[in-house]
Structures are given as C-alpha cells and as structure tokens.
C-alpha cells in the first residue's frame, strides 16, 4: 500500500468513513472530494454543505496593545473595530508584497488571527518578530478545529441547534455560542459566496460537533464538501487564493484588494510602498477573464496575449460548474484591465479568445453583504468592494 504522510485533522476518520478521496494539502491529509466535485459545488450553491477546514492556522494575540499591534501588521483597519468584528486583510512586506491574507477577529480581550495552512510557519515567525513588548502570540492551530456550513439554507439549518439569534449575527461578525451543546466561536464568514457560518471548536469536541451537524443536516440533503469544490466555489466569486492570485510579489492594490488597504490609518508594514504605488498608478491588475471559445479551459500559468505578444498570465483558471464554461483570473497590464477588453489565451498551443469581465463571475451568491441577501443586491456585490474573501 502506498503511504502518504501528513497531519490528520480531528475529523480525518469521518472523511475516510464517508469514502472521501484523501490528498496531501499543506502538510495535512485532506478530503479532496466525497461524492464528486460538481455535485458538491452545486450542493453549496443550491442547498447546504459542510466542510472540514481544520488545516487553517489560528493565532491568538494577547496583551493590552494587541489590537494596535495587529493594526500595524496588516493593511486593513483594526483599531476602531468593536468586539465581534471580523476583518479580512492582507499582511504585507515593507515592499508591499503580500505575506498572507488572513482574518482578524476582535474578540475583546484578545485578537484571533486565522491564516492559510500553507503559510502557517511563515506567518507565525513574521508576526512574532514584529510584536512589541507585552504582546504575545499563542499558536492554537494544533488545538483548534474549524467546521464550515455554507449554502442558502445555512441559517435555517443552524438556528434549531443554537440559542444564539442568527438573524442578528451579521456578515463578518462573530460571537461565542453553543451549537448542538458544543462551545464554539461562531463566525458569519466563508469562502463560497453563499450565506454560512464557520465554527471554531476545540479539537476534542470537533468529532461530536461534526456528527451532530451531519445528523441534523441529513434530512435536508446536506453534503460533505471537499477541497476541490471549495476551490471552484471561491473562484466563481473571484476570491484570491494565496499562492495563485496573490503572493509576495503581488501587492493588494494590483490584486483588486485596494478596499482592504487603509492608507489613512497609522503606519503599518508596507504603507509607504503601497502609497507610492497608488500615486504612480498600477502597472498591472488582477482581472476576471470570460472565455469565449467553446470548451476552452484556461489553467494557472496560461499566457494572456495581445497581438501575438504575451502580456500577462493566468493565476487561477478552471471550468466553472455554475457557469458551465472555462474562466480565468489573470494579471494584465493596467491599460488592458477595463471590462470588455479582448485578449487571447494560449492554451496548450491553441489560441482561445476571452474578454475582461467584472468579478465575481457568479452573481447569485446568498452571503449577506451589508445585511441584505447577496442575490437581491447583486449589483452591490460586484467586485471586491466590501465583500471579503477568506480561506
């Protein structure tokens, strides 16, 4: 038997029992898919899905100046938030390149940072080197599990399992709660574009919580969702994936994350570089590309061409289950970033045509941006204005 090495989350045996295809991911053994990527993707868009995201990292920042210390490390505004607020933000290098994108939870006494599994060690070292005296980082990644429930039916599904009034928990807010009798940090966040919740729970209680959620969801057809569908769901929303669309060579301004960069706040790492870049104008921008050629699916690394010359590159590309065709996110020169601009893609030696298109690709998402259902206000949800992605 071939043995693959990797950490197991507290829910690993659940995935094996469900017949998941297990793959190595960021040092973990994770479920790539259960019933099939398209079925899982469609279940989240139309109904309800449950995810094991326990590979993500969680750092607790403590000390009286925790909020200010984090504010100095990330581009978005943290000082001035109130307890219960969740903020999506890049964390930049002095040159403006992105170390990671993360969630910042103002939890009153402490600040919780949720980081990408692939950047866990890098982020921990980066942050610890930059904390002032009196502020500490406690790595809770290996004691914390994370279960997400996502889909238009998420609130109706979860409400019977908790006394917390979910209609009052707005998008990008979090609170302590008991769900199915298990204490969790309940967060109205997600990486799918649908309404949903992310539940941070102690490893020891995670299997019990998963079982209770699965039992409650069975009658309504809730499906377990793997990493493959997680990627097509986030892609359709135009949410960045670190290592694809953003990395330490890309700035948040170039990546369409300018709304997360608050140049009017106090000094933070990368502020000067980003201010200069903004003043000079962006030489390249991350855009969505809608492929016109039938059956052409661009993938990461595909060249974006204009008049036979390579001018950019695809950073994420896939067949979009909701749209039924290939789509791409790509960096293009600033002057080609306007919606409708035609470009060509060199896909395995064949030329396909595409046009720059606004993000998100998929407009029907039900996440409750600004307190309203996403689908009802899809115009307000176009592009990244105030609509966060998270991992």
């Amino acid at each position: 038997m071939t043995q693959i090495a990797g950490r197991k989350t507290a829910l690993y045996e659940k995935h094996v029992a469900l017949g998941a295809k297990i793959v190595p991911f960021a040092g973990y053994l994770m479920p790539l898919q259960y019933s099939g990527q398209i079925a899982e993707h469609e279940a989240v868009r139309g109904n309800l899905g449950i995810f094991d995201l326990s590979h993500m990292g969680e750092f607790r920042i403590t000390g009286p100046d925790a909020l200010a210390a984090v504010d100095r490390l990330v581009t978005n505004r943290i000082v001035g938030t109130d307890p219960g607020q969740v903020v999506y933000s890049p964390m930049c290098r002095p040159d403006g390149g992105i170390v990671d994108d993360l969630l910042v939870y103002n939890l009153g006494e402490t600040v919780l940072l949720v980081v990408n599994a692939s950047n866990l060690d890098k982020d921990r070292a980066w942050i610890m080197e930059r904390l002032p005296a009196g502020v500490r980082l406690l790595d809770e990644s290996y004691a914390t599990s994370l279960i997400a429930v996502q889909g238009p039916h998420a609130e109706g599904f979860l409400q019977p399992l908790t006394a917390a009034p979910l209609a009052e928990l707005a998008y990008y807010r979090a609170r302590e709660a008991a769900v199915a009798g298990v204490p969790v940090l309940l967060s109205r966040t997600g990486y799918t574009g649908e309404d949903g919740f992310e539940l941070y729970v102690a490893d020891a209680r995670a299997p019990e919580l998963w079982d209770r959620l699965a039992e409650a969801g069975a009658a309504g057809g809730m499906l377990p969702i793997g990493l493959a569908a997680r990627d097509t769901l986030r892609f359709e929303m135009g949410y960045c994936l670190y290592g694809n669309d953003i990395d330490d060579t890309t700035s948040p301004l170039e990546a369409g994350l300018g709304w997360t960069v608050k140049l009017d706040k106090a000094d933070f790492v990368g502020k000067d570089a980003l201010a200069r870049q903004k003043a000079a104008g962006l030489r390249r921008r991350l855009v969505g590309l809608a492929v016109e050629t039938e059956r052409a699916v661009p993938r990461k690394g595909v060249s974006v061409m204009r008049d036979g010359r390579a001018v950019g590159m695809v950073t994420s590309g896939t067949f979009s289950p909701s749209l039924g065709r290939g789509m791409a996110m790509a960096y293009v020169p600033g002057e080609l970033a306007a919606a409708g601009t035609p470009v060509e893609l060199d896909i395995r030696g064949r030329t396909a045509t595409a046009r720059v298109t606004p993000l998100p690709f998929y407009a029907g998402g039900t996440r409750k941006v600004a307190g309203k259902s996403g689908a009802a206000t899809s115009a307000a949800n176009q592009g990244p204005k105030g609509d966060a992605g998270a991992k």
């Binding site: 038997m1 898919q33 097509t232 067949f319 289950p321 395995r348």
Partner: protein, 128 residues
C-alpha cells in the same frame, strides 16, 4: 477500484480491449478517479490514423486536463458520440458506456508493451 482481467493497460492509464482486428480504448477507473468530474472530451474523427504512444485526444476535468495516448497503431473506425453530451459517463462507467474510440488495428496487434490487470495494479501502487 476495478481493473477487468480481460483488458490490457497502458502506463498512461488507458485500457484496451482487443476484439480480433479491432481495439476499443478508454481510460481506467484509476484515471477517472484522479481526474475527477470530466466535463469535455476531445476525440479524433473516424478515419484518423493514430500511432501507438502518440496523443489521440484530450480529456478535460473540472480541475485538470490530460492527454490521451493510443495503446496501438491503427485507424479510428468509431467514436463514442454519447461523450459529447454526457462526458460524466466516463466517471460512472469507465470500462462500459465510457468507452472512447474503436480502432482498426494496423498490422498484427503488438500487445507486448501493454500490462495485464495485475501489472497495472502494481503500476498504480496497489500491488504488494
């Protein structure tokens, strides 16, 4: 995973069923599982000559794309037209309804480079 004993297998995860002068070709249960949900298949027209070991088509899944390699040389006599509208049948029935092309074999069938089911299992790491 299934690997029918009457089929022969290639390193690139195609299967072939030799029926006299004809060979029917598809991809294995292992291949369809690795690819995930299949969304498009690009296959040659009947009459096209295919060469053993050369690419004869493409299979596109949601998350990845893969070339298809001819296990034998010959001329394509038939193409599974069901795959145009329902490529997912390859995932559900890789050896049956998911067959891809029928080839009229050129010359005597040279099966020497092909694996039997047991050797293929070892190839994908299932053997002892």
């Amino acid at each position: 995973m299934e690997f029918p004993s009457e089929l022969k297998y290639t390193e690139e995860h195609e299967w072939v069923r030799v029926e006299g002068e004809d060979a029917v070709v598809g991809i294995t249960d292992y291949a369809q599982g690795e690819l995930g949900d299949i969304v498009f298949v690009e296959l040659p027209e009947p009459g096209t000559e295919v060469a053993r070991g050369a690419v004869f088509g493409t299979i596109e899944a949601v998350k990845t794309v893969s070339d298809l390699y001819a296990p034998l040389s010959g001329t394509v006599s038939e193409v599974n037209s069901d795959l145009e509208d329902d490529p997912a049948v390859i995932n559900k029935s890789p050896y049956g309804k998911g067959w891809m092309i029928r080839i009229k074999i050129a010359g005597p069938a040279d099966l020497s480079g092909l694996m039997d089911a047991a050797a293929y299992r070892t190839h994908i790491g299932e053997g002892n």
